[in-house]
């Protein structure tokens, strides 16, 4: 009999990964929008907008799914996280709010150069900051500094997320999303060889940067998240690291050989492996050390209904999402 809380936790992790693959790519797109330079900057921006416009609303609903699953399935952990990490989560939220609105207003507002410029900058900077704070929050979960006593964090509200390790996780998230977006955009830019080449080089550059940051974060975790470090270095962690490394190499190869479809799959693989690796290294903790999946779980009846609800929801949702992508991503006129 599989414990329902494990299944819900698994779906939570799955939701986080999908959010990273879809919403994360959106953040990455925003980062490249911010960093667009050179004579083709305008085309870069148009490319990014076209890629994101139809899907970004649906992409970001995954974040809400993660939040809802957390407070439905693991209420005490949710309370601890939203209390102790109130500040970084608020900062991430503010960035997400600004970002969503800036995107909509840049498209639908007055199209004079100055207005578009301002909203573009707001969009870009908030796209850069949201992953930073989300990454820092995730890192704080591993850091072990969050200890709740009588509903308040014993180490204060600045603990856990300002450690070098947590900040490293934040920067890692930024570069990972930029990496992912660059490679997605090589596919979006199929019809324009120059644009495609631009994103090819961005993909290579951000991929190398990502590998470097990964090693730094791993090093920082030695003191910043010891349990996580131990798992990654000593137990089965090295296998995941190895496979992630292989995926990254395949991505580079794909980019080099202009086999962009392969690069895309491999890049997505990197993201999946990084987050799965983190999740498995975290297991069974939701918040190290005080909240495990089992200790924070809602009663079995809630978890069972939740799984039934998710299952039935998926029946409607998966085909709908498939339809969305079919209409926009696979039918190129």
């Amino acid at each position: 009999m599989i414990h329902p809380e494990l299944v819900v936790a698994g779906i939570l992790g799955f939701g986080l990964i999908i959010y990273a693959l879809l919403g994360g790519a959106d953040f990455g797109g925003g980062i490249w929008d911010l960093l667009a330079f050179g004579e083709r900057a305008r085309q870069h921006r148009a490319l990014i907008i076209n890629a994101m416009a139809p899907v970004w609303e649906a992409n970001h609903v995954w974040l809400i799914l993660v939040v809802v699953l957390l407070f439905t399935g693991f209420p005490p952990a949710f309370a601890a996280i939203t209390t102790a990490l109130h500040i970084p989560l608020t900062l991430a939220l503010i960035a997400i709010v600004l970002r969503g609105s800036a995107f909509a207003f840049r498209q639908y507002g007055t199209q004079d150069d100055k207005t578009v410029y301002i909203w573009s900058k707001v969009f870009g900077i908030s796209s850069l900051l949201a992953p930073l704070f989300l990454g820092m929050s995730l890192g704080a979960l591993s850091g072990g500094e969050i200890k709740m006593v009588n509903g308040t964090p014993a180490n204060g509200f600045f603990a856990g997320w300002l450690t070098p390790f947590a900040i490293g996780c934040g920067i890692f998230a930024q570069s990972m999303f930029a990496f992912l977006a660059a490679i997605y955009l090589t596919n979006e830019a199929k019809s324009d060889p120059e644009l495609q080449a631009d994103y090819r080089s961005r993909g290579l550059f951000s991929g190398v940067l990502l590998a470097v940051i990964a090693m730094v974060v791993l090093y920082l975790s030695k003191t910043g998240a010891p349990v996580f470090y131990t798992r990654m270095i000593h137990q089965w962690g090295p296998w995941i690291l190895a496979v992630t490394g292989v995926c990254e190499v395949v991505t580079f190869w794909g980019l080099k050989e202009r086999r962009f479809a392969i690069a895309r799959i491999a890049a997505a693989g990197v993201v999946v492996l990084v987050l799965s690796g983190w999740g498995i290294a975290q297991y069974p903790y939701l918040v190290t050390p005080g909240y495990t999946i089992t200790s924070s779980a809602a009663p079995p009846i809630t978890l069972r209904y939740l799984l039934i609800g998710l299952g039935s929801g998926a029946f409607i949702l998966v085909p709908s999402m498939g339809y969305l992508f079919k209409v926009f991503k696979f039918r190129r006129d």
């Binding site: 974040l63 939220l93 995107f103 507002g109 926009f328």
Partner: protein
């Protein structure tokens, strides 16, 4: 300015903001489905143009609504972690289902907005239908969570913690039916009359503009059908609230003294210290009839409710009268429209009627907000009625004033930009349309 007060104020204004966009996300898709449906039947180009113009408005409102909804879902934890710790396992299921409905709505809105040239006209219309249904479903389900706060069920208490949790019983709590009925109808009333008011404004400048005329007829129709039903549902709600939350009813009606043959007090200034209402119009037997359908029925007054469980009588009573007054004013405008239609057999568009719509539109928004003030402030000091006080649910994080000011500025910017963007769109409304006549 305690942390609790700031948290409440922040939750209040972010919800007050969000509800406008949520209502738009529920009501406007219905308007679009009707417009596009009539177009598919009649092939009149003006209706296609109307659908396209309206969809641009919906796109903006939906995006902002999604963003403000994300804020709410975070705020549940950031401001009220203890509430979420208690109730997450109980009402979380409803939130999850709401998430799905909203997800479906978002997906089909993407198809609808961007898929004009990629799918068949029928597929496009069905996508619009899915948006309207998704919006309605998510509204219905999320309302059950608010209803649960007013009438908690689906658990027992042991040492202050919930046991024997039954999330389905929580969804089907005693307040769900009347809250869902009343709020869903109010969404259609507000969407109908607010949109009608906007188009009335443009028609006052050019009575013949075909797209604005089509827009007015559809939005007015939805509003006119919904308002009598809404008032009727308000009657149901009053009686349910009398049974379920006597303190809320007493505050709504500014009733201090428990008594039979209770009068209805309209207006006036309730004074908690003297436990009386200054000024105001008293209708004999009115409250007993309204709340219990019996002129001799005994209605509980605030005097018989512990003092530390009193809501803010003055605000709740004022908000209630504002809501009901607006509702009846809108009903009068609806009746006027019907009379004009019956007399002239064409779209009501006389100058005075259009001006009345200019008032009815904002009034429907005021009624919407006032209604939520009634139900939320009327439930205080409880966050979960008779189970958990709002003061016991708030986060221990200090310095909420800083984030409050940040959100306030953020939302002010958001709101003003929405207004600017919408005005831009509306000034070009129907411009793609070339009336062949």
């Amino acid at each position: 300015m305690t942390n609790l007060f700031i948290a409440r104020l922040q939750m209040a204004f972010t919800l007050a903001f969000h509800i406008i966009f949520a209502v738009a996300g529920i009501g406007m898709p219905l308007l679009m489905v009707i417009a596009e449906g009539i177009y598919l039947r009649t092939k009149k180009p003006v209706l296609l143009e109307l659908t396209k113009s309206w969809s641009k408005v919906v796109a903006v409102l939906f995006a902002v609504g999604a963003v403000s909804g994300t804020v709410i879902s975070f705020e549940l934890g950031l401001l009220w972690p203890k509430f979420m710790e208690f109730s997450g396992g109980i009402i979380g299921l409803a939130f999850s289902l709401e998430g799905f409905a909203f997800f479906v709505e978002a997906i089909f809105l993407g198809v609808y907005l961007y898929g004009w040239n990629r799918i068949s006209p029928l597929a496009h219309w069905i996508s619009g239908l899915m948006v309207a249904l998704g919006g309605a479903m998510s509204g219905v389900i999320v309302l059950t969570t608010n209803a649960w706060m007013n009438s908690p069920s689906g658990f027992d208490l042991l040492n202050g913690k919930p046991i024997h949790i039954d999330p389905v019983a929580a969804i089907f709590n005693q307040a769900s039916f009347h809250e869902i009925l009343h709020m869903m109808l109010s969404a259609y009333v507000t969407a109908g009359f607010a949109i009608a008011a906007i188009h009335a404004w443009y028609l006052l400048k050019d009575r013949t503009h075909p797209t604005h005329r089509a827009a007015l007829s559809i939005s007015l129709l939805v509003g006119i059908v919904s308002i009598p039903l809404l008032i009727f549902s308000g009657d149901i709600s009053s009686r349910r609230v009398a049974e379920l939350q006597p303190a809320k009813l007493a505050a709504m009606e500014a009733l201090y003294e428990t008594r039979s043959s209770a009068p209805l007090v309209i207006g006036g200034i309730p004074d908690d210290k003297t436990m009386s209402v200054k000024y105001g119009i008293k209708i004999p037997y009115g409250l007993s009839i309204l709340a219990a359908r019996d002129p001799k029925a005994t209605i509980t007054g605030l005097y018989d409710i512990p003092r530390d469980e009193w809501p803010n009588t003055a605000l709740v009573h004022l908000a209630f009268d504002l809501m009901v007054g607006s509702g009846f004013a809108i009903l009068a405008v609806a009746a006027w429209a019907c009379w004009l239609w019956w007399k002239r057999r064409e779209l009501p568009d006389t100058t005075w009627f259009l001006r009345a719509l200019l008032v009815a539109g904002p009034m429907s928004v005021i009624a919407l907000e006032a209604g939520w003030v009634v139900t939320e402030l009327g439930r205080q000091p409880w966050i979960i009625y008779k189970i958990m006080r709002t003061a016991d649910a708030v986060t221990t994080m200090p310095g909420l004033i800083y984030t409050f000011i940040t959100y306030l500025l953020l939302y002010l910017i958001l709101f003003s930009v929405v207004v600017v963007v919408l005005r831009q769109h509306l000034s070009k409304f129907g411009e793609g349309f070339d009336d062949p006549s």
